[in-house]
Amino acid sequence: VAGLFRCAVVAVVLVVTTACSASAPNPVAGPGPATVATPTSPESVARADSVIATATAPRVAIYRTPAEGSEPDRSLSNPTVSGGPLVFLAAEPPGTSAWLHVYLPTRPNGSSGWVHLADVSLSRTDLSLHINLTSHRLEFRRGANVALAAPVGVGTTDTPTPGGLYYITELLQPPDPNGAYGPFAYGLSGFSDRLQTFNGGDAVIGIHGTNQPEAVGHDVSHGCLRVTNDVIRQLVDLLPLGTPVSIEA
């Protein structure tokens, strides 16, 4: 009889444990650590909207922590060295303080820091790009809805496209629309992990058109993401600077 009671107790404990774990609420993510080079997660891009910060000051100081009186870790020029406006993607929604936690367009990939809200103006977008390197698929999403899906060429085994959460930092229109970059090329906040420089630049990861459409959908690039010229033209009609780009390795 005592054995039966023991079994009953064990059964009750199992039922309670299972039921609680099945009904547990989703954990609430707190703010991330206020340090440069915070690892990022592609899942964090799956939001209905993202906050974009565009620099309004000629230089924007970057801080490791949002503490009044602290010294900046570095500063970034506005316009950038390539001549475009300096933009950031907010790593967290703006709160009530005078600080904003942002992802940085600098090495190492996934860097983040804090800026003064007074140095930026805020805007929002519910648009995002999601790239799966394995399936060679690019999705343009409006909120959670996929509005466009297209094949994409990605980095080779020697020069792979790095996975992570990035954002669009610039949009260039090459002088020759029939060249290797096609009619338009977006620069991202990410960099090649294998190359320090490329073609005189910092080996920035880009999303661009191509004059080799047959290579789209394969492992062909030095890290950039290649889509057809028709797709890049559609994206240029829609995407703002600061649009989040999630690359799943």
């Binding site: 005592a2 009671f5 009953a8 107790v9 609420p25 929002r124 909120g143 949009l171 630049g201 600077l241």
Partner: protein, 174 residues
Amino acid sequence: MTIRTRLGVRRRLVFVAATIGLALVGRAALAGAQQAEPTSTLSSSPASGAGGSSIALHGTCRIGSQPATAAVVHLTSQQIPAGSEPVNIFVDLTVASDGTFQGAIGVPVDAPAGTYAVSLACFSGDQEFGDKANPFTVTSSAAPTTSAPSPTTTTTVPGARRATPRTGTPRFAG
């Protein structure tokens, strides 16, 4: 009754008490877990209006009995006429301690006639939940502004506009 028999009865009583206690604890835990389900509602009115009008908003954002930390309502174009910029406006609304919110979102004066969506996203910290959406029809542009209920809006952040290309030679890792 022998001492051995009395010990056996006592042991059984302890097991019965433990079983009942665990069952009660389990029931309370289940009730707590059910209360922690995220819930959201969004009411927007009217369902149509001219450019320049306001849409009154109210609803709820909570997880269990806990209010969300923010409610973001977004007005966006569902159809974009050629040559028009998409309408893309966000409003942050303060969520009261009971999980309710209210406010208003303005339809731009130059918003083209057509179908729009008024959508809600609730946030608890950085965690999003409870997306809802209602349709809204813009009947015509440049109508006079109508009065709206007193909003509890804390921040209005405009939608980002598409990037303007600059002519230049890319030096990306093509």
